[in-house]
């Protein structure tokens, strides 16, 4: 990475306080954060959800979300205090002097307009260059971002290109008016790892090329390490620490910063078992006429954890749906504990249903918002085990203790719980059925790093105590390393590889596994550069 050490100040934010209105009262989102940025420099803003990093990034433009307001602070951009400008004056800076790249490109493009029109809209507003010049420039930007068919891709509508391509087109859109500053707000969070690498390298090279300053917001340390010259860590709306990227990685000072690293150090010794809890054999499955699983066979050893990894669309969640009976397979069979399972959910016995439970990715939507914790956990106890009244309550409390909560939670509604607590309740609900097999479908991907660690530790503890078998569906390799005994790699509805963790994570790899593993960002700031050199050679 080229460090741009020009000392010309571009942006200086002083003592920023921002309040947000939610649940009928005002909350403090930012409590006096400072930020400086020089021309051509990239600053990484990192923190968990709710840390205020995205609010800070938008505040750098003088923008706040509806329902938020800047209480005090200065935002000096090129000597102008953005906090004092009117809406009308700020509009002359937005999109042209400072541009913004959002997290979800798919939701951030207007579905009704062609991509080219949207790419040049901000530059068009400047009225410096005629439209055809801007279009030519946009095509060149598409080319340098390595978009396929750069000449014509702009004529398409947003729904006609992939997520990774959209994210690059949004970068082109941000670059089109040649801004002095670009705010990247979690631009790769929604992408698969293999796509993320391409987008990251495209963004980095184009920012380098035009020597644009940038603020890069993310919760992923490894990603920010590739992009930023300096890193600032935020927590609860306050600054934790700030340092040059290399210093920060090699020598984090604050406890909190160190804890952000720790998840990746969680490692489980692998074990296997010749006795299979579940075997699926030669499964084909389809949604309507589009076939998504091709001849999938997986064995799940008893009392162990098998991680199914793959990108979105690889068929890993579909496999879970087939196992649970939500999607009957077209071909093949499912053997559960030595007995064949019926493909259809309504033909399975209550006992079979009890023994397989699932925990979903989004705890927010997986629970009935009008039921209390007692009802949520109590229902499967009553339904599967026929336990009622006092005994049932005792059982619920026992489960709550197991997931490291207590009886004070009994009367709470899901809306009164944090994200991590909600996921714990979902785990308790699965355990309430006293199952033999639990399918965890991306259970940690909606959670923050530290909370993730807690959940993973809890799952491991429960496995030791109860001997349950897990199928762990994830796209996150760090999670896989932390929890699995065996790994199944899936790609486009097929199993690429299956085996012990040590075998899969060490060479020799099949091509796809190699690509997948090498795309997972590492904490080394030179990782991306080295990877790209290696791939191009």
């Amino acid at each position: 990475m080229t460090l741009n050490k020009s000392k010309e100040l571009l942006l200086e934010m002083k003592n920023i306080h921002i309040d947000g209105f939610s649940d009928e009262r005002w909350h403090k989102i930012l409590k006096g954060v400072d930020l400086t940025l020089h021309r051509g420099e990239i600053l990484g803003l990192i923190g968990e959800s709710g840390a205020g990093k995205s609010t800070m990034g938008k505040a750098a433009m003088g923008y706040t979300q509806p329902g938020c307001k800047i209480i005090k602070g200065e935002i000096n951009f090129n000597g102008i205090d953005l906090a004092k400008l009117t809406e009308f004056e700020k509009r002359k800076i937005w999109g042209t002097k400072i541009s913004y790249v959002a997290q979800s490109a798919a939701a951030s493009f207007n579905p009704a307009h062609r991509l080219m029109e949207q790419t040049i809209s901000a530059a068009n507003r400047l009225k410096i260059n005629p439209t055809d010049v801007l279009k030519k420039d946009a095509v060149q930007l598409y080319e340098s971002l390595q978009l396929p068919d750069a000449e014509n891709i702009g004529n398409r509508y947003p729904h006609q290109v992939s997520g990774g391509q959209l994210q690059r087109i949004m970068t082109a859109m941000a670059m089109s008016p040649r801004p002095e500053l670009i705010i990247f707000d979690e631009p790769t969070t929604a992408l698969d790892v293999t796509t993320q690498v391409e987008v990251l390298s495209a963004m980095r090279s184009i920012v380098d090329k035009f020597n644009t300053a940038a603020i890069y917001i993310t919760h992923d340390l490894a990603v920010v390490a590739q992009m930023a010259d300096r890193i600032k860590v935020l927590r609860y709306g306050e600054e934790v620490e700030e340092a040059e990227t290399r210093d920060m990685l090699s020598n984090p000072k604050e406890e909190y910063t160190k804890s952000l690293w720790s998840v990746r150090s969680l490692i489980k010794p692998e074990e296997t078992n010749e006795d299979y809890m579940l075997s699926i054999k030669n499964i084909d499955a389809a949604y309507g006429s589009s076939k998504v699983l091709h001849n999938v066979s997986i064995d799940i050893p008893k009392g162990k954890t098998v991680a199914i990894v793959g990108e979105s669309g690889s068929g890993k969640s579909t496999t879970a749906r087939v196992i649970t009976g939500l999607l009957p397979q077209l071909k093949g069979e499912i053997i559960f504990d030595g007995k064949k399972l019926s493909p259809k959910l309504d033909q399975r016995s209550k006992e079979e249903l009890r023994r397989i439970q699932i925990i979903f990715q989004m705890p927010d939507t997986a629970m009935n918002p009008r039921q209390t914790v007692d009802e949520i956990i109590g229902r499967p106890i009553e339904f599967y085990q026929g336990i009622k009244g006092k005994e049932r309550e005792a059982k619920v409390i026992e489960l709550l203790k197991m997931i490291e909560l207590d009886e004070t939670f009994l009367d709470r509604l899901p809306s009164e719980l944090s994200g991590g607590q909600k996921q714990r309740i979902c785990i308790a609900r699965a355990l309430a059925a006293n199952p033999d097999l639990i399918i965890c479908d991306e259970v940690t991907s909606a959670l923050d790093q530290i909370v993730q660690e807690g959940i993973l530790k809890l799952l491991q503890k429960l496995q030791k105590e109860l001997g349950v078998t897990y199928i762990f569906i994830t796209h996150d390799i760090a999670t896989v390393k932390a929890i699995s005994d065996e790994i199944v790699v899936m790609y486009q509805g097929e199993v690429v590889e299956q085996g012990l963790k040590s075998k899969i994570l060490n060479p020799p790899y099949p091509d796809y596994t190699e690509l997948l593993l090498s795309s997972v960002p590492e904490m080394d700031p030179d990782w991306l550069t080295n990877l790209l050199n290696k791939r191009s050679s």
Binding site: P66, R91, K92, W94, H113, H159
Partner: protein, 321 residues
């Protein structure tokens, strides 16, 4: 194609419902026209002549078969009471309906041309200045107009613009000799009534469709790329709001046509709605059936047009992957 055939099914299901409702009404055309003192044999003779003695199912399919051949039959009323009389004044249903339909279409057409642009402009501007006094008063007033029944609105207009300040006539009688200007003048009050009862709904839905879209991420993105308020609403929100807006317009145009039944009655306007009410009163089945078919098919056609606009305005449907 599927929608089209579904539409046809709807139209005929509607005609079946109308037909069967009729058989539940007390009395038929024969008893209504001959009065209570009629002898049984006279009633029987008339029924036989009109074909009312056949079972309802047979009658329905006879009628249906004729409709397919473009023959809507003759009206019951106006025919000679003596069989074989040369002075049979019974009229073809088509000849009876067409001029009235023209009148109704004129009335609703003018009202639509007033109501649609007005409600779009009001809805968009209310969304643009959301929560301003303008927005609040516009949505408030529209709630009142939506909730008042059309006859009430009609009488208020009569009270204000015909009685207290006699600007417009209360009775909107037009005939073929009336000039266009005269027609506009005479139909002013019913047009205002129809406009007012539909505008509120269309305006509110336009406003909420746009506001709904204003909370999406691409609108925030548009703002952050420096788009002005006007540009955000007209260029970024409106193109994505056409589908819901056109649906609401379709429903309201259909509602307008049906609302014209009441409004025409109040203003004594010679339109299809008034004809239908009169024919129901006389149990004049062929006329009622034809009117019902017209109402049903307008409804279906309007909805088809709205769906079509929804498809054209959405690139996802127009240009598949």
């Amino acid at each position: 194609m599927l929608r089209l055939s579904l539409g046809l099914v709807t139209v005929f299901a509607f005609s079946v419902i109308i037909f069967s409702t009729f058989s539940f009404l007390p009395g038929d055309f024969a008893t209504e026209i001959l009065g209570q003192s009629a002898t049984k044999s006279a009633v029987k003779a008339l029924r036989a002549e009109l074909g009312l003695d056949k079972p309802p199912v047979t009658r329905y399919f006879d009628w249906l078969g004729n409709v397919f051949q473009g023959d809507f039959g003759s009206s019951f009323s106006g025919r000679s009471k003596v069989q074989g009389d040369q002075g049979d004044r019974s009229r073809e249903v088509v000849g009876l309906i067409v001029p009235r339909l023209k009148n109704t279409l004129f009335l609703t057409g003018v009202a639509a041309m007033l109501a649609i642009p007005l409600s779009l402009i009001l809805g968009i501007s209310a969304a643009l200045y959301r929560n301003s006094y303008y927005d609040r008063s516009a949505t408030g007033v529209s709630l009142v107009t939506v909730s008042s029944p059309e006859f009430f609105t009609a009488y208020i207009f009569i009270l204000l613009l015909a009685t207290l300040f006699p600007v417009f006539p209360t009775i909107s009688n037009v005939d073929e000799a009336s000039t266009l200007a005269e027609r506009f003048y005479r139909t002013a009050l019913p047009v205002f009534t129809l406009t007012l009862i539909t505008m509120g709904h269309m305006m509110r839905m336009t406003r909420s469709a746009i506001i709904n879209i204003l909370s999406s991420e691409y609108i925030q993105m548009a703002k952050l790329s420096g788009a002005s308020r006007y540009e955000v609403v007209v260029k970024h929100a409106l193109p994505n709001a056409w589908a819901p807006i056109s649906q609401v317009i379709a429903i309201n145009l259909a509602y307008m046509l049906i609302g014209s039944v009441v409004v025409e009655y109040v203003f004594n306007y010679q339109g299809i709605g008034r004809l239908m009410v009169g024919s129901v009163y006389n149990r004049d089945l062929p006329v009622v059936q034809a009117c019902a078919l017209i109402f049903a098919s307008t409804y279906v056609i309007l909805n088809l047009i709205a769906d079509l606009i929804g498809i054209i305005s959405n690139p996802r449907l127009l240009y598949p992957k």
